[in-house]
Amino acid sequence: MNINVRILTKSVAQQYAFKRIVTFSTKPTQQAAAAAVPQQQEVTGPTVRKPIVPAHYRFVYPEFLPDPKVEWRNAVREKLERLDMIDRRRQIELPEFYVGSILAVTSSDPHAAGKTSRFVGICIHRERCGLRARFILRNVIDHQGIEVVYELYDPTIQKVEVLRLEKRLDDSLFYLRDALPEFSTFDENMEAEPLEEGAPVPINDIKVVLRPRPWLERWERQNLLGVANIEQYIKDKHRKSAEKVQKPWEKYDLMKQYRATIPEEEQKEIFAEVHTELHTLELQRKRNKRKRTFVKPKHLA
């Protein structure tokens, strides 16, 4: 029931909201979602073959899709970049994670005493593509909000653990900077919470509570879904100015959508190229994990 209501409110909000086009959104856009439905029906037909590449790869490996700006694209460069990314992925496990997931990153640090440093935090933003892919972790330690930017393919990173795999209602959580500190406080010694295999990634529908104004950004203009008390702090003039900058027509702007994303056919090509490698890596990791979890019974006496 709760889920239904949530989905309803979300879709309603999306319909009337100004939608900022995010290059690699964690959520399929409305058009994509609508397009996905008839496609599934087609697949059931006898003539159409099942696609080899799983459809969720574009969300799991968003950085494999190049920058959609046409002037910057080049097939050879993109190919070399993908080869390098796979080479790096053979060395280190870079797990699936989303904005809103809680991560622990262990990296080599020449300044630290033990030459490594570990930081636990919630991923508030993911951006860029290829070898430049990076994400921001945020945590509150000793009542002090701290953010660290990591590059996904940086060779000084030794380990990336996902402690809690989940999504949030928004594509970036910069509003946690203006929220009460308890919403971005996470225990450093947190244990990983494993998900069942094959289970869909849960969406955490927690609504954060903002501090009173002044804020870092004008959150009331961004149609955020994960904020509870935005109405409490804004006045009529804010509401009016927020209404003025809304662009409700943008969701009909198919050209804008097209320019801001990689077309589906190209996505298929790209993932068909890297799919076998990524799949074998996934299987290998799974096998290793099982091996690790099996504890040899202690020989008593």
Binding site: S107, D109, P110, H111, A112, A113, S117, F119, R134, I141, D142, H143, Q144, G145, I146, E147, V148, V149, Y150, E151, D154, T156, R177, P212, R213, P214, W215, L216
Partner: protein, 171 residues
């Protein structure tokens, strides 16, 4: 009361962005917290330059009292050639009518990759010899400070590495 104090702390830390709010909200904030001067008309600036408000994060008596009163120290000079304080730089601050020196141990400004960015501009008060006035820093400090402060400590002159000794935690 304690809550109010804590709030004061965070407000002082975020002082540089206070001005984004409209004057009316600032005025209401001021009226809610008598004694603290919260009305600022200068634009938000995340850099540490002259007259930037800082947050003292050690347990020195002077710093604690200044923060509790809601009158955070202001930077009145940055000891480098650029005039903009970066992490590990020495600054001169005006705190409770006195001039004291301090070291920046956490910044709100964009930092390099893998180096932490803080929600407030943190300061540790030191004397002329580089020894800190307090005995403990109660927030994490970045590990890169270990290298920077060691480099800044020369054979003759102040020894800044004493600040590292009172740190409770590194990030």
């Amino acid at each position: 009361m304690a809550q109010l104090l804590l709030r004061n702390f965070t407000r002082a830390g975020n002082a540089a962005l206070l001005t984004k709010g409209t004057s009316s909200s600032s005025i209401t904030a001021t009226s809610a917290e008598p004694g603290s001067c919260q009305l600022h008309t200068t634009p938000a600036c995340c850099e540490i330059r002259k007259l930037a408000r800082l947050r003292v994060v050690d347990n020195s008596d002077l710093g604690k009292r200044a923060m509790a009163e809601g009158r955070p120290p202001r930077c009145i000079h940055v000891y480098n050639k650029r005039g903009v304080g970066l992490i590990g730089d020495k600054v001169l601050v005006a705190i409770k009518g006195q001039m004291k020196k301090g070291i920046l141990v956490g910044l709100k400004q964009k930092q390099r990759i893998k180096q932490p960015q803080f929600d407030s501009n943190n300061l540790v008060l030191i004397d002329d010899n580089g020894s800190p006035l307090g005995t403990r820093i109660h927030v994490p400090i970045p590990t890169v400070l270990r290298t920077i402060l060691k480099e800044k400590t020369l054979a003759k002159g102040a020894d800044y590495t004493k600040v590292l000794a009172i740190a409770s935690r590194y990030v």
